[in-house]
Symmetry: C2
Subunit: 662 residues, 2 copies
């Protein structure tokens, strides 16, 4: 159901599976079904396993955006680049930019978003220069609270020329590493920076190596290096590190030369500046290539990709490099291309579960969600962020925190990604009738341009175009939306497809995936009256829940149990059932689903305008319906149910009498 693919849990579990083991202990306390081993491990353990299995990884560095729209873009980029399978991403820290604040653009919030909403293992940078102990501890406590587990400990640039060492203060990254280990024991995995050419301010290369050794001895778990342009530079550095007893992983920092980033707005000149400031040695042969093409961004980028690929090949061939760290400068094309050419970009990484897993430590046991939020996974994570247990007493335990209120909806990424103008172009500058709304839904399904020449790329309930799986149902969906069955969620029935299936697959290799057909839509009360009549014929094959905005709920799910609609059978495991139709959570989803009519759509129009009144009318009078066809081995009967409903509506009044079954 969800497009986004994050490769975390199964992969690490896979790497464990070599050979025969001895019995003895049980790892789980849970007394029921399933749980994939989801991301239970720390970053250091993942590295260890990947090194042992010779499985080279990559990681991606980003800096915090300057504006809220920039943050929205960056989060979309996390989703896209996350699909390539990075071991982790890291977010830089700029003391001048209020990096620890609650602003949407702060380092802290961006890193937290990557973890919680994009499911990415994330490393938060932290600098200590000119900071008080209390301030640092507060930052770390906040990071921990937000689910961050990894810190890149840096000194940071002294502010002003007159900086002098403080006694007992944070003068070096080593002090920060010690502080983290002292205050937080073993909670954080710690990364430190290595300088293959020596730190620009260090007295000597050897002196700098000794500082690095101190940082590692103080408790750092791995090293990421400054960027460099010759493989030999890095390989010599590693050799020197090993010689003085540094044994932890050392990741080369790779920068595919490019001028398109804001950092290089001045192109060639910027690069020269950077090189000068950081004491980087850009090899003569590179400068000679760049100089003549310095005004041609595309040519520079192509060269940068070529240069990075060649250098990385040498690094990988050396056997000294467990993973590659990319300075993306918040751009995706060059880095993705380098990774593709190196064969490290996971084109089709297996999804651990059919939905986007959050990487927050608290959520690592989460293995089931209501299907209703399938197209709004970030909203589900947001509304359940205060939960300690998942799925929180089957969503109905009154002693547990409830779903987050809709009024808390301040987070920008729960709002539409598109600006108002674009939404009006897609959803209509002016609506004439309910049928205008049907037209918008139909255009979304068909991906055809509307009368104004615009494609409907999203709906209030669906931020993205149709998922490939939903695409399988396109023809039927078009037909019913055209007649006012306004679908917002659906999945086809699946009877045992391989877990490797590119559209519906998830979970470890060698498994089988099953689904019950599901359809969720808004429709008028007239339709609902006919539908209820028709549904009597489909007992007990079809389960339904029908609710209006006031919460009047009609259902044949007699005992309020969840209905599993997606499950997987895997070698040597328990059954996993990651999506369910749950009667209790449906009532919470209902509030959100109806509210989106008003918040995202009606409010595009003037108060009292006909367009707004049409949406308001639908909001007030339509019903939200969900249908499950329990007979998953047979062709879905849900389309026939809708067909029967229309047939009944079309037939002369006198034949619309009570069905014989109940």
């Amino acid at each position: 159901m969800v497009n986004q693919r994050v490769d975390i849990g199964w992969q690490s579990s896979k790497s464990d599976s070599s050979g025969v083991s001895n019995s003895g202990e049980s790892s789980k306390e849970s007394s029921r079904c399933s749980t994939p081993v989801l991301d239970a491990d720390r970053l250091r353990d993942k590295m260890k396993r990947r090194i042992e299995s010779g499985d080279c990884w990559f990681s991606l560095e980003f800096f915090p955006p300057r504006t809220a729209p920039g943050a929205v873009n960056l989060i979309s980029r996390f989703d896209r680049m996350g699909s390539g399978g990075p071991l982790f991403i890291d977010v830089t820290w700029h003391p001048a930019g209020d990096p620890g604040s609650d602003k949407e653009t702060s380092s802290m919030i961006i890193a937290s978003t990557a973890v919680n909403y994009c499911g990415l293992e994330s490393v938060l940078h932290l600098t200590c220069c000119n900071q008080t102990k209390e301030k640092i501890t507060a930052h770390l406590n906040k990071a921990k609270r937000l689910g961050l587990k990894n810190i890149m400990a840096l000194r940071g640039d002294p502010i002003g020329e007159d900086w002098v060492e403080e006694d007992g203060g944070f003068n070096y990254a080593t002090d920060l590493v010690k502080h983290i280990r002292c205050e937080f024991d073993d909670y954080f995995d710690i990364c430190v920076a290595g300088y293959p050419m020596g730190h620009p301010e260090a007295e000597s290369y050897e002196d700098d190596l000794r500082h690095l050794k101190e940082k590692v001895d103080a408790g750092a778990h791995f090293i990421v290096t400054q960027l460099f342009f010759r493989a030999e530079t890095f390989l010599k550095f590693v050799k020197d590190c090993r010689a003085i007893g540094i044994t932890c992983p050392i990741l080369p920092g790779i920068f595919p030369i490019q001028f398109e980033s804001p950092l290089f707005a001045q192109g060639y000149h910027s690069l020269c500046q950077l090189v000068k400031l950081s004491k980087l040695e850009v090899p003569e042969e590179i400068m000679q290539v760049i100089e003549p093409i310095k005004d041609n961004d595309a040519a520079i980028r192509n060269y940068g990709i070529h240069q990075a690929v060649e250098m990385c090949k040498v690094l990988l061939a050396s056997g000294e490099v467990p993973g590659l760290h990319f300075y993306t400068l918040n751009r995706e094309v060059a880095t993705m291309e380098v990774l593709r050419q190196l064969g490290l970009w996971a084109e089709d990484p297996r999804r651990p579960l059919p939905w986007a897993v959050s990487a927050h430590p608290k959520r690592k046991v989460e293995d089931v969600r209501p299907i209703f939020w399938a197209s709004r996974p970030k909203s589900y994570i947001y509304r359940t962020q205060d939960w300690d247990d998942f799925p929180n007493g089957r969503w109905g335990n009154s002693s547990s925190p409830a779903f987050g209120e809709l009024t808390d909806y301040y987070l920008f990424y729960l709002k539409s990604k598109s600006p108002k103008e674009a939404l009006l172009q897609m959803w209509g500058e002016e609506l004439m009738s309910e049928e205008s709304v049907y037209e918008v839904f139909t255009n979304y399904i068909t991906s055809k341009t509307n009368l104004n020449g615009h494609k409907v790329m999203c709906l209030p309930w669906n931020d993205d175009p149709l998922a490939p799986e939903t695409n399988l149902l396109k023809d039927e969906l078009e037909k019913v939306n055209r007649r006012g069955v306004l679908t917002i969620n659906s999945q086809p029935n699946i009877n045992g497809k391989p877990s490797s299936d590119s559209i519906v697959g998830w979970g470890p290799a060698g498994g089988y995936i099953f689904q019950k057909a599901y359809l969720e839509f808004f429709t008028s009360s007239e339709n609902v009256t006919a539908l209820l009549q028709v549904l009597k014929k489909y007992e007990p094959r079809v389960n339904y829940h029908i609710v209006n905005v006031q919460g009047r709920n009609t259902t044949n799910a007699h005992d309020m149990q969840p209905n599993a609609v997606t499950w997987g059978i895997f070698p040597g495991r328990e059954i996993i059932q990651p999506t369910v139709v749950d009667p209790v959570s449906f009532m919470y989803w209902k509030d959100e689903a109806f509210a989106l009519w008003i918040e995202q759509w009606a409010k595009l129009y003037e108060d009292e305008s006909p367009s707004r009144m049409i949406i308001q009318y639908i909001h007030d009078n339509y019903f939200l319906v969900n249908l499950v066809d329990n007979d998953f081995p047979l062709d879905s009967c849900l389309w026939q149910v809708i067909e029967d409903m229309f047939t009944l509506l079309d037939s002369p009044q006198e034949t619309q009498e009570e069905g014989s079954e109940s």
Copy 2:
């Protein structure tokens, strides 16, 4: 896997499923998969639902046996008669027979066995006459501790002629009812006796009715009547009860006339005695039929069946009878035949789960068990009787009580049902070699008579002949047992058969059942060496655990997770996965499986005898192996695995080299 069928949970749940309900509350706190609504209700609630749905039930009365072998027989009878779907059974209480003791034959232990091991809703009789309050309370506490939830409160016959009412003592059943409600509040469901002809000692019929009203007013939930022979007798009684304000269910006591019970060892004479003592009026027309055939047991029984059926038909047709209560006198034929003719015997009741569910209140949430105990369900219940949670932290939580020790194995019904002589006839008076043992296993599989003309009806690991499901694998099983792959547990793969399937079906209607093929056997260390070689070719399709008596365990189940091998998909429910192969519990099962060689088989022979030494050799040197084929949609590959093992063993030594995969 398990033959026995107990009809409890689903049926009650089914009766609830009528029509549309309104949403509001969640019933479950569990956060993971499944749980059928298993017997969560009290007897009074079950009656209420059955009355509302017009679904007539029956119940069965037994008396405690005199001897231990009699107890073993009675428990087998519980299993057989339980399969017909009684709403409850009840066990009578004879003060002279130490009914509250821990003896295998006591009323208390028999009723507890019916609940815990046979999964039957049970009512324990209790008489109060000449008993102290403390004694009564102690009995009730013990009953509660053993999982009993229902009491039939009786006065009992005064012992001796000189009985007088005691002030403040238990003079009447009413006193006992009051005491139960006072001391145990609402914990017990209480039944009291009704006398359609009036109690033999009552002053008058009307006086007796008033006593009955007092008993009900004191807190009884339903009435079972003394036996009678005319429908009108009962119907008048019910009318009179209703007239004075008794509103609870009144169940007619039915006695199909028969002389085969120990109570009627003297046939006709005994009946006359009974009739006289209990002031029963045997109608003249019945006496006239019986008298001439009084020496012909079969004729009497046939008449008794006929008479009971005709009377029950009148009772049922009256609409005043919610259920029929049968005085079985511990015989099954007559009662079963009456029920069959009335259409009340559930020929193929649906099983709530594939194994025999215990009716102990603590176990009502139990929904998953290790497959190893499939043929020894009573042993599993016994060994886990101290658990508070099921399945107890996935069988591996060290803070929970462990499996009961084998040395606790005193309970007679965990031992073989057959006497030593019968076992020797089946398993061999004298064993010549390991091949003699292979022969025994093969004869068990094929149901053929052995050289001495005896059928092998059981093995130490299988109390009963092959289950119908296992029968599907008969040919393959015969082949491998003949060659020393000594199978003790197996199931075929099933890819979505209807839950109503008569062999592999279980759970509610409209579901689909799945299984992974499973095979468990003892075999020699030579075979295991070859098997391990062969299994490399079947990675990761086949999961295995191989262990010897010392506990050296070889497995490819890398992360010690349970492997679900039976699961069901049902309308409107979560996935249910009732059997798993669990690595931790396998080590406990291993102890039991190996011990059975010695306890049940070796000890049949003299110390130091060749026969005993052969079994001891197998015990000491063979391995216990289990195999799961994870690819349930394909034909099982487990037979091919065994075939490959034999091929490898048969091939010249030099070709037995290491396989290329690992």
